[in-house]
Amino acid sequence: MLSKRVIPCLDVRNGRLTKGVKFEGNVDIGDPVETARKYYEDGADEIVFYDITASHEARGIFLDVVEKVASQIFIPFSVGGGINTVSDMRDVLVAGAEKVSVNSGAVKNPDIISEGAARFGSQCIVLGMDVKRVEKSEAIPSGFEVVIHGGRKYMGMDAIEWAKTGEALGAGEICLNSIDADGTKNGYDIELTRLVAKSVTIPVIASGGAGSPQHMVEAVTTGRATAALIASIVHYGEYTIADLKKHMAEAGVQTRSVW
């Protein structure tokens, strides 16, 4: 039986691991390669890295991190942040990432999804979506709107429509982040997760708001996600990944055994 995946997400800034709340107030919390290695040994099923570096120069530092990770960690990992062209995709895949995540780059230029899928295969194109709750309207019938720039810019696009478009263009997975829930540790936006997961056939990864193993259980049961993205709850040592998986297994969720 296919296991539900537990995926720690590492935000990397200038080669260091950082964590902020609602995309703001980032603080240095460690070395990304060491941290990834620890999560790998502890049973992470996959790892996501986001390059949140602002400067072009620091891109090289980030790619060095990706290369180091690839030589030490034998599970899939994806890389996102600042992916705007097929050439950006190629850089991170050549550095050893298994998948590449496009977010605002795809909102601005949806063709990057189909071009990336044609060039590298759908399996390695993850559509990252940042979504905020808004009033339901004609333009946003679901009441969930796509935003970019860490939630600062509203795009006038309905999240459900964008998920379907992304799938049709060739995305292989969707990583669905609720800006409202992000960093709150109050739980994933289950309504959003379920709505999107029901609208597409590709796997949906729930993101934003994980504060307890029970939240993760909800995401992959009621929310219909196939994976749960986590950050704070493991970065600060509150839980280990093994703890989380144990809790999920006790709640009847199939997870990969750490042998």
């Binding site: 039986m1 296919l2 296991s3 539900k4 995946r5 790998y40 099923d45 690839a70 030589s71 034998f74 599970i75 899939p76 895949l93 050549v94 550095a95 050893g96 990432a97 298994e98 590298f120 295969g121 759908s122 399996q123 390695c124 292989g172 997975e173 056939t201 590709i202 796997p203 196939t226 994976a227 990969r256 055994s257 042998w259």
Partner: protein, 206 residues
């Protein structure tokens, strides 16, 4: 020992080479032209992507002929990974019907649409070694491997099957026949058990 990892523009070669290093084989080398297979002791065909496109590329570049010479003719040990395993079958049904290398009898077809099951099949799934094959040596029943695929292999000869898995329906997770091996999962991305499978391949006598 040199293990040639074929670059046909359809795979993450670095992770295969990195994983070979992790199991003590520093001889992993990227092979870009068919002539280079001559000096390889073993061959890995990795790959993700579409069956027809990959087969067309292997045909145009002369890899098909070279692979037939080295693997069928000279009996070199071969491991196909994911799409690389599918390509050794007789026929692919991805898009247009496309003949594969045809070393093993069977076909490659899409997962049936089943409500509630996402396609592609992405993630870790428990896998059952069968027929006590060398490639799966040391892997316990139910070990999890990482998969990412929409198409699956069905073998005509059940004795070719080295492992099975289930996603809505049973499918072939690994094959083995003589010097030809294949895994639908990604051993290079499947942590301990994946590395064990690669080690098995590395350590098999040439």
């Amino acid at each position: 020992m040199k293990i040639g990892v074929i670059d046909y523009r359809a795979g993450n070669l670095r992770s295969v080479i990195n994983a070979l290093k992790a199991v003590g084989c520093d001889g992993g080398m990227v092979v870009k032209s068919p002539g280079e297979l001559e000096r390889c002791d073993k061959i890995i065909l990795p790959g993700v992507g579409a069956f027809p496109k990959a087969m067309a590329y292997l045909n145009e570049t002369g890899f098909v002929q070279a692979l037939n010479e080295q693997v069928v003719g000279r009996g070199k040990l071969f491991l196909g990974v994911c799409l690389g395993m599918q390509l050794i079958m007789e026929m692919g049904h991805e898009g247009e019907k496309t003949p594969g290398l045809g070393w093993l009898r069977g076909a490659v077809t899409r997962f049936a649409d089943t409500p509630g099951l996402s396609v592609p099949h992405v993630g870790w799934n428990d896998t059952r070694p069968v027929n006590s094959k060398a490639i799966m040596a040391g892997v316990p029943e139910g070990a999890d491997f990482y998969y990412v695929h929409s198409f699956k292999v069905a073998c005509c000869d059940s004795s070719d099957v080295a492992a099975t898995c289930e996603y809505g329906e049973p499918f072939v997770a690994a094959v083995e026949r003589g010097n030809v091996f294949g895994t639908q999962f990604h051993p290079e991305k499947s942590q301990h058990f994946g590395l064990r499978v690669l080690k098995n391949f590395v350590e098999l006598p040439c």
